[in-house]
Symmetry: C2
């Protein structure tokens, strides 16, 4: 239990690419993706009927039973659901990937808060992205706050760490258009066609895309904004741009 | 200082509709909207050159000078900017409002976290909303976490508290279309025309729009999602739908 709590609470103590997740939806997604290596559950009485059935439905998964108090020491929620899992991190190599004709990638130039990164992952997956590329390994999608904000979406997608040079080379090999999204972008995303193969490169809220990554972009897009607001939350901006990229794609196919 | 810290830290101790905000952008927006009643600043040395100029440019605003340590007791940031303000809450009455032809309203059926509400306000303002209606007074946009997430956007918009009956009556009087956004919506937002006058009614992430508010809606829209994700963060959903409502409006005018 102490080791579980450490795994859950302290990002630095994560070892061997393991992380703790909680909540029914996230645990369900991890199991579906064969990424859960054990379940952590509180006594039957604290679980919903649906959660109670999970261990029985997955007899191969070891189950660690902990008291509700012990679960609280692992949880980051005010009202812990009583169901968690230890999962394995997984990373994909850029070399093993080819752009899929019906999808696109999201690349992250800079990442500020892990919670924001988790939210970006969730919205990107909802809007049809193949996965996320973290340039220079920036951002930790397996940080507890990122996992919490992604609500299981990380298990339905692919995480890649690569250098800017690797991305440039990969983009050239497959003739991928790399498009940046930045408050200083010169073109409104409304009129852009988001033709694939495509990588959308996102920056951080205050600082945008790192200078050394701008050179990767064929265009820099900005989200049009009404007076009174001059920037959006990173997750809001990522949600809008991935939505728009997917909307344009689907409207072309119709 | 103690009273300021209480104002900043504890939402319940807010009195006479006053709240503490911090950060240059938010303070600037509050001043522009004539909503700041005093400035709170740390010693010159801790302020950026731009922040240092603000008190001189607004000689009518009382300035409370506090030590950097005292400012930290008020701040919710890891790296406090050293510039804050006390602001007055402001609320508009539905009776005094008419729909503007070029804009729309966002109504909130349920609100979970104040930080999410602040993010919704920011995105709604960015995407051209006239303001927010909080049904049955749910949600507190002047909560410190909401103010923090809104980054000043609340001063560029209008906050209304009203009952569902009031909204229904107002909608009828001005022939406003009220459209709900809900994971169980029957129509995809891609194809919807968002004709104005319009109110977009949003729910909470898990529970959607309250049952008693669904009857207000002419249609229920859902945001299309790819497999692997079955819901979006409230701020992500609000950002996408307000973006789409504004995009459709602008594309009609072009």
């Amino acid at each position: 239990v102490r080791e579980l709590a450490r795994l859950a609470r302290s990002p630095r103590s994560r070892r061997q690419g393991r992380a703790f997740i909680e909540g029914l939806r996230a645990v369900g997604a991890a199991i579906d993706a064969a990424r859960a290596i054990c379940l952590v559950v509180t006594p039957e009485a604290h679980l919903s009927p649906y959660a109670r059935r999970i261990p029985g439905e997955h007899p191969d998964l070891p189950v660690v039973r902990v008291t509700a108090d012990a679960f609280r020491t692992m949880s980051r929620r005010q009202n812990p659901s009583g169901m968690g899992a230890v999962i394995v991190e997984r990373w994909w190599g850029l070399d093993s990937l080819e752009p899929e004709p019906d999808r696109y990638w999201v690349a992250v130039s800079r990442s500020d808060y892990p919670g924001n990164l988790g939210c970006v992952i969730r919205s990107a997956v909802a809007n049809g992205a193949s996965g996320l590329m973290l340039l220079e390994g920036r951002g930790d999608p397996y940080h507890p706050e990122a996992l919490r904000a992604a609500v299981g979406a990380i298990f339905a997608t692919r995480m890649v760490r690569c250098s800017a040079d690797d991305l440039a080379e990969w983009g050239e090999r497959y003739q991928v258009t790399i498009v940046g999204v930045d408050p200083e972008g010169s073109q409104e995303c409304h009129g852009y066609d988001f033709a694939r193969p495509l990588v959308l490169l996102l920056g951080a809220e205050r600082t945008g895309i790192a200078d050394e990554h701008r050179r990767l972009c064929r265009s820099l897009l900005r989200i049009p904004m009404s007076p009174g607001v001059d920037s959006l939350n990173v997750c809001a901006a990522a949600s809008i741009v991935t939505y728009e990229a997917q909307r344009r794609h689907l409207s072309r196919r119709r």
